[in-house]
């Protein structure tokens, strides 16, 4: 008779008493299906193919950075202890922008990167505190030329489809019949209060524009396929150049929407070190006013700008959201292997 091999690693036939076992964790399993994991890998392959054909160099930069970000609407996560971490801690990057600009200033030429970025407190059907960005920079292109390349990339990934571009001003005129540049703050606030219960919400012009954009304009964009929005109010320039257009100061910045889902943000990049420093300082003043911690300026970025950033445009595109578009899923938590709650 052949002896039956005993596999000592299999669980005993009778379960141990419940008291001696740990809790049964059900969220060890991935939230995304294997088909979606394959689709993500497919998108990455298409992106690398796209940039290889165009001679854009793939780069990597650090996730843990010495400087945070001054943007009053973005909160970084901090790593505070560890033998390699100094007394000031390190920040998990909210985007690879500053490091990539240092590469550009050092003469890298066109570059791209696919990396993780982290933003504290951003979680929901379209946000995960840890997410994947595709970011790239093109010396010699302005933001309109870069929009064409972004459309090419999106069509390379999602299949060919038509696209359009609207200025921020035309977007508000067409969707809400308001001129976002000339309407008074009271008018904007009145329209918002007329359509939405906002309680005792208070804020400046940009707050009301942001509220109308997220609550009324984005739903209007939902049925309109690929749409770029460009020339934002100068107060929302972030790191974009500011120019005068038709009597208004506008930021040479664009956003890409696919059926109302915000997918990418791009700039005709500001290269002036002094203006960049002034904007960082203005951000910090706003942070102080709002009771938020101020952030040390990224002196390494400012030094790179002083050394000379080539005239360029750059864009960051949310990879997880691109996968939402490609898969037809509506909740980002279903396209991530392990969303925040399971990570």
């Amino acid at each position: 008779m052949i002896p039956v091999p005993v596999n000592t690693r299999t669980a005993p036939a009778s379960p141990e008493p419940a008291a001696t076992r740990g809790p049964v964790l059900r969220d060890w399993q991935p939230a995304a299906s294997t088909a979606l994991l394959r689709q993500r890998a497919g998108l990455l392959a298409l992106i690398r193919e796209f940039f290889a054909e165009r001679g854009v160099l793939e780069v990597e930069t650090p996730l843990l950075c010495r400087s945070g970000i001054t943007d009053p609407a973005i909160e970084p996560l901090q790593v505070c202890s560890g033998r390699s971490i100094g007394a000031d801690g390190r920040y998990l990057q909210t985007s690879p922008e500053y490091a990539m600009k240092r590469l550009l200033a050092a003469g890298s030429g066109s570059i791209y990167q696919v990396c993780k970025a982290f933003r504290d407190g951003e979680a929901g059907a379209r946000h995960n505190p840890e997410f994947t960005l595709l970011e790239w920079y093109r010396p010699g292109l302005d933001h309109h030329q870069l929009m064409v390349e972004v459309a090419d990339l999106v069509c390379h990934c999602l299949g060919p489809r038509p696209w359009q571009a609207l200025s921020y001003r035309d977007l508000f005129l067409e969707s809400l019949d308001i001129d976002p540049f000339s309407a008074s703050v009271d008018t904007l606030c009145g329209i918002a209060r007329g359509h939405f219960d906002v309680g005792n919400l208070e804020g400046d012009r940009d707050l009301w524009l942001d509220l109308l954009l997220t609550h009324a304009v984005e739903p209007w964009l939902a049925g309109r396929g690929i749409c770029f929005v460009y020339d934002y109010p100068a107060s929302q320039a972030a790191l974009a150049r500011i120019v005068e257009r038709d009597g208004y100061w506008v930021a040479e910045r664009f956003e890409l929407y696919v059926d109302g889902l915000e997918l990418a943000n791009g700039y005709h990049e500001l290269g002036d070190e002094r203006e960049q420093r002034a904007r960082f300082e203005a951000d910090n003043r706003l942070r102080r006013q709002r009771g938020l911690a101020t952030r040390p300026l990224d002196e390494q970025l400012l030094a790179a700008l002083a050394a000379g950033l080539p005239a360029c445009s750059g864009v960051a595109l949310g990879m997880d959201r691109l996968l939402l578009c490609a898969s037809g899923e509506s909740d980002i938590r279903r396209v991530l292997a392990f969303p925040w709650e399971r990570s």
Binding site: G121, R126, G199
Partner: protein
């Protein structure tokens, strides 16, 4: 009570808003590419029952509301108040007509129901999903009529009026879905 930030708003959380206790139903985080983030929050005002959506700046906080749902036994009414008892402690609570609302139509003595307490006092009462009540008044039943066919109004012991099949007669006990007010079937006489 503790304060809760918008990122802690979960379905079922009870918070104070404009002086009323409210229950959070849904919480959607929205943010433009750059700029101010908001939370669009669907909630129910537990005092009025109204369901609506309020927008908050992300990071705003609300005070938690001292609200709990308890299963209690309905005892009786004296016309002004309805009396309920916690089955474990035998503690009694009196609810006024505002708290009871339309639930009085489905309250039978000794039946269990859900009583929502706000700061220790009944704020609202929800009857069981199904209750068995006696018919006190309806047109005479039609001999030979079966389950199919028309319906007629029948008044129940609580005063509720429901539509019942033609063959149902006064004195019978029927089972009713309190969420829709619809007749389900005959119940054995209790």
């Amino acid at each position: 009570m503790a304060n809760f930030s918008t990122n802690e708003f979960r379905s079922g959380l009870k918070v104070m808003l404009d002086g009323d206790p409210c229950s959070i139903l849904e919480n959607e985080f929205v943010k433009p590419g750059k700029g101010q983030a908001f939370n669009r929050v669907r909630m129910r005002n537990l005092r009025t029952g109204r369901v609506w959506e309020r927008t908050f700046k992300s990071g705003e906080t609300l005070e938690g509301a001292d609200v709990i749902d308890l299963t209690m036994q309905y005892l009786y009414t004296d016309g002004e108040f309805w009396y309920f008892m916690e089955p474990d402690t035998f503690e009694q609570h009196q609810a006024d007509a505002k708290a009871v609302g339309d639930a009085y139509l489905w309250l039978k003595e000794q039946d269990n129901c859900e009583v929502t307490l706000y700061n220790g006092s009944p704020l609202s009462v929800a009857p069981a999903n199904f209750v068995e009540l006696e018919i006190v008044e309806t047109d005479p039943g039609l001999k030979g009529d079966t389950a199919q066919g028309g319906s007629k109004p029948a008044k129940l012991s609580t005063g509720a009026v429901v539509k019942v099949p033609l063959f149902i007669t006064t004195g019978e006990v029927i089972r009713v879905d309190t969420r829709t007010g619809e007749y389900q079937n005959r119940a054995s006489k209790s």
